[in-house]
Symmetry: D2
Subunit: 296 residues, 4 copies
């Protein structure tokens, strides 16, 4: 298969169920909403070594937010509902409640909800009111009052959607990955949790040499090892590969994000191949096939 | 005392010893170094609810880095050396090793060092070389090779340096706080770990009403409660307060950062008072007195 | 009239016909499209002292551009068609053709067109091809080839749509103005040509004291002169005013932008009044009444 | 010659005398200073098609500015002193006086000065005062008062310093160019006037085919024409070239900027050669030899 002259491998991304919450952060200006959103979703690339997977979903314009101020939606993911709750309390309490001019609201329509009782911070001075038809707390603080909803929808979403970009050189691969992330930012309900949305270091489960490692470099995807390992997946002439990992609120959203990412990536010259990562279908519930995703 | 017509209270910031590490992240361009630095220092405003306190120290130009590429220095703080080590492994392994085009180097001259053995990720394909006179690992990965030092200096620094900005209205307080943070960014060896460097929500230890809370709003510093609580610290006409919390590699660095922050903040109209937070001198080892800091 | 508790004066913005062109700039990544767009629309706040009025209209995602790359649309305005042509040739030739990785396309569906024959720069090495169903030139240059359309639609649009934000203090007025500009950025077909979209200095035609001046400060809108001039338009308690000037491809687009700007501005605390600027209806063809714009 | 494994051609950049002014713009925050500086230096890549050459020199921290606020220095260049004066009046009057929260001061120590009498805008309401030991005007306007000096130093500087970056592919050439520009930003007294500091389209004087053209593509520097033109300067394997043009307040400053730019550019993989542009030494007063610049 080909798209824009770039080979598309007939394979699939193997993805997993994960618990997701979505929080809408508003602020005096869009910039301050983004500051809080960035802090709250930092240190959250992979649950292998981070306490959560999280990222910015998209900008929400002033006329789509409960308080009429500009906003940014974030998504926080954890394999367990308890983990989601703990992460919401810590990340929202430490990184949004503390941030200048912010307010926060539930951003996910879901039956299941977890309480995030930040109002106790008010030490009895907090009071309830209604903003945009929602019951919220107003907590007195140094800058004025912090407005927040108490209950946040949680549902089972999808983690580990992905695509791999193979290019002749590193800077072309990077520009393609950057474009893929920009395109995915438009797909509501999805995040790319790695730094700048991009993974530079593909891994395999475990390690052949160091038995205490849970994960190690995927040598078959290392261009510098192409001639040293058997079964290298690196085609001749490819010198750099980036992966985009995508989590989202639903299988549809993640597939749509994969499509957007691939379509944007193949426009950069010197990109030669797009593929996806899987474990042979043994581990994950979802098989997101590139052919289907792209309608090829 | 006064500075630029703004009242400076004759008080002190009470600060504490903390373990600090400093890491120099380089990348293909300054922008990508900042992307990795931001991810690695996210979710790190306060050790009360975050796994560490961390932030960006400053930009390091290409001619001051071991590999001649543009860089960004970050500082990571934890009360225990073990905690520093764990946080370095997780934050550098998940947020810098995975980031596009980055390399990393020790950024703190200290006798005490902790090992961050990311080279095991290479699964035996890693090799040693020298970059800028330093022994580093080169780890094959998808984008090429990741270069990193193994040992990172750790020393006892200072946490909890601070200043409070009191202004007639929220937007003026915020502009003053933004300027303070910009000024502090120039002081090497210091960070302002809160979102955008700014704390919107002052807290007191414990809670009067909710006994299970470790911290709650400091009602004496809440403008909206000025007429409802006894002993309010909010002068008449003040409607917003922001705090800047500063951690650093030394008492001198933190004092210098406080000076810079205050000098920058008092230039904004409608700022009426600067003060600092302490616990009466009972808890912290350091008393950073505004009078000394400013040479008044 | 009131909106969100803010007084809306029952008046109108007086606006004028102007010639407009709209150019779609694409690039390897959105960031480079923005770099070119910013350079091409600089020094273009007001035709009183600048060679044109120009600004960024909006970001165009990769899947809405002729070449499938991320883009930014700009609008260039001049009172004469000849002026538009000259400005297009100079601004596109010097600021887009020279910019890294860019291409450019007509962004305005209009019967009337002006030629921008940059292909002569190719010195005979240029060639024609088709991109996204459009006939374009490919001009060999140092970075590779520059792709551009030759004909750009020109139509009569509207200049001088406006709104005034009056607030109790400067920083609140500024945050409101910033939000207004962010909101207007979403309204396709409009620009806010002043720096950051904001005018800090209202003017009146001519000058009472200096007869050689074509324009001078509008003393009736100067908060510091409130008690010194007769007929001041500054209400008690107002200490800062910002104006947003809006140009657009049609009266409808400009009205929609005014609506968005006002709705976003009134959400900031300490904003007390919104009004608009006119010349009593004597000069401009269009009277954009706030009442109609807001549906009040 | 070689630097970091990259070939350095033994040639020189041919540069010209030009009149320069340097203006220090301060604002409430660094961001707003940059907004005004960007608008004031737009549409100013080359005097061939723009009314001036201009750009941002560097950020000036709060403690180095006359009013103690954060600032940005810009440089404006024109071949004639009259042209400098006209450009200062228009660019400062339309793009700085109108910008939110800005003030402006002379940023060049020079005996020769031009007056920029924006105070007439005050229509008699302006008044004089002293800021940071400088006599300035305060002009009442909508946001409050605009502070500006009246006289701006003008001296003969240098235009057309340059370096060419040749790389195997476009994205690598672009990253190298971006790094060169970042490095040059640190060299006080210099600007890179093209979009993002980078020139994608090298030109030669005149045109072989179109006699009415003053400049046209330099076919000898076009990678796509390598096999079609005689005397191509493009080495085998090179597919993209970017030029950095540098103007500055002195020959020394421009040479220092060339050095910084080259040192930063050669760190990017796939860059294979650095050269410079000249007219055989026939046209320009200055010959900035790469060998001297780099001390090789």
């Amino acid at each position: 298969m080909e798209l824009n002259g770039v080979e598309i491998e007939d394979t699939f991304a193997e993805a997993f169920p994960i618990k997701v919450a979505r929080v809408l952060i508003t602020a005096a200006t869009e910039r301050w909403a983004e500051v809080a959103a960035t802090e709250a979703t930092g240190f959250a690339t992979s649950v292998i070594g981070c306490p959560a997977e999280a990222g910015i979903d998209c900008v929400i314009p002033y006329d789509k937010t409960p308080d009429g101020r500009p906003g940014v939606a974030i998504i926080i993911c954890h394999f367990k509902k308890d983990g989601i709750k703990a992460q919401l309390i810590e990340r929202l309490g430490e990184c949004v409640l503390t941030a200048p001019t912010t307010a926060m609201f539930n951003g996910l329509d879901a039956e299941d909800k977890v309480p995030v009782k930040l109002h106790f911070f008010g030490d009895g001075f907090e009071h309830e009111l209604e903003v945009g038809g929602r019951k919220v707390w107003a907590i007195p603080m140094m800058e004025g009052e912090f407005i927040c909803e108490e209950e946040y929808g949680v549902k089972t979403g999808v983690a580990g959607g992905n695509l791999f970009i193979l290019a002749r050189n590193q800077m072309s691969a990077l520009a393609a990955a950057e474009n893929a992330v920009t395109a995915i930012r438009q797909v509501e309900g999805t995040i790319t949790p790695f730094p700048g949305g991009i993974v530079a270091s593909g891994s395999k489960p475990g390690s052949n040499k160091y038995k205490f490692m849970h994960a190690s470099t995927n040598e078959k995807f290392c261009p510098t090892l192409r001639d040293r390992v058997e079964g290298s997946e690196i085609p001749e002439g490819v010198n750099a590969v980036y992966e985009i990992v995508i989590n989202g609120v639903s299988e549809e959203a993640v597939k749509e994000a994969m499509r957007a990412g691939i379509e944007a990536a193949v426009k950069i010259p010197e990109v030669v191949k797009i593929t996806a990562g899987n474990f042979g279908g043994k581990l994950g519930k979802y098989q997101l096939r590139l052919k289907d995703v792209l309608g090829l």
